[in-house]
Symmetry: C2
Subunit: 229 residues, 2 copies
């Protein structure tokens, strides 16, 4: 990767800009000690359902699929709860908090690069959380997999910002915390930075390694501004 060749930076949303742990307080409130296994299984099923529905050719949008994953996880763990609780949890997806450094880092990166979001989430979810955090103004565009009713890591999805920003994929740096997403974007042909927010995480064995490994977005800004890598 030649950092002088990068024209646009495209960010994944969940786990990358927005912290899913924003749900933890509500989950703990409603489920006590069951909150942690519920959160883990919910997130895992949410991902699995994007992949399985893509393969089955049975698209369902991210909000509804996230509800299905919550229903599965609660059923599997033997938990039951009222519709109002489900709705409260789903509503939180419209106003997830960013990780602490995201606002400042985006401001710095925005002065040098075109910025965009590419996510499996519905556009209204993404707009909701960017506005909630006051970071909406930094993005030239927000791309949702929902536009083409396909999920990452299908190559068509990574094509969205290439077409939308009119920038070749070799000039795009894609940034994600999610290891499968890193492999998907790299397989598609983008430059890829992996945010290793969890120091114990490892890359996937899918044959595609990131060009850059960083701990957070401030470090991305630093690395792009220097020739440190």
């Amino acid at each position: 990767m030649d950092k002088n060749n990068i024209a646009a930076i495209v960010f994944d949303a969940y786990g990358t800009l927005f912290n899913i742990a924003s749900l933890d307080a509500k989950l703990s409130h409603y489920f006590g000690s069951d909150a942690k296994p519920l959160a883990q299984l919910w997130r895992r099923k949410q991902l699995e359902y994007t992949w399985l529905r893509s393969m089955m050719n049975r698209y369902k949008d991210f909000i509804n699929l996230t509800e299905d994953a919550l229903l599965y996880a609660s059923k599997k763990l033997g938990l039951s709860f009222k519709d109002a609780i489900k709705q409260d949890l789903i509503d939180t997806y419209y106003k997830l908090d960013t990780y602490p450094e995201v606002g400042e880092a985006l401001q710095l990166l925005h002065s040098q690069y075109q910025l965009a979001i590419l996510s499996n989430g519905n556009i209204e979810l993404l707009k909701g959380s960017t506005q909630h955090n006051g970071i909406h103004g930094h993005f030239a565009a927000i791309y949702s997999a929902d536009t083409i009713q396909q999920y990452k890591p299908l190559p068509f999805v990574y094509q969205l910002p290439v077409d939308g920003l009119k920038v070749s994929k070799s000039k795009i740096l894609f940034v994600s915390t999610n290891t499968w997403d890193v492999a998907g974007a790299k397989s598609f042909g983008m430059n890829v930075a992996w945010i290793k927010r969890d120091p114990l995480n490892v890359t996937e064995e899918l044959g595609f390694e990131p060009d850059l490994i960083i701990e957070d977005l401030m470090q991305l800004n630093y690395q792009l501004a220097t020739s440190a890598y």
Copy 2:
């Protein structure tokens, strides 16, 4: 589902006929108390890699992908081991044991129906384990996703036994323990029996429920032989 209309029964392999727990003794021998988390993560990644590689259009066969999943799981859990141990574990995939009732049930079912296997596994893996258990003679055919380099739950894969056995999908009963596979086959249009080997397991929230839920293959034979459902 009209049981009088069933002409052929097609079985998934891993978890359905063959018990992955056949690996447990070796895993315990090599990894002690790390064996259980390693086995769980290995199996999960093995599945994920079939799905992710399908979506990325980066096919790799099941044996090699199973090695990759083992490498990921050991890396993630901070375990290291020699190539000889990896090879010993992979070799076990060629001679997995069946669940206890499988041999007797297949013999009974074989007298009434055409039987086949449809699996993501390489054909040599499937032949190895059927021969190891002396059940090879019960099957009219063994279909491997490897033939078309696509994995379940892509519809093309479920089409293999339809074309091979020359039986319409409405006359096929597909049998699987794997809940995502149950949804995939049902979405494709087959009749589906779910073997609920784990009493705590639940079906996926993917919009497709099995026609029949059984505890093991003897119960499948019983249910097909009677009008109990």
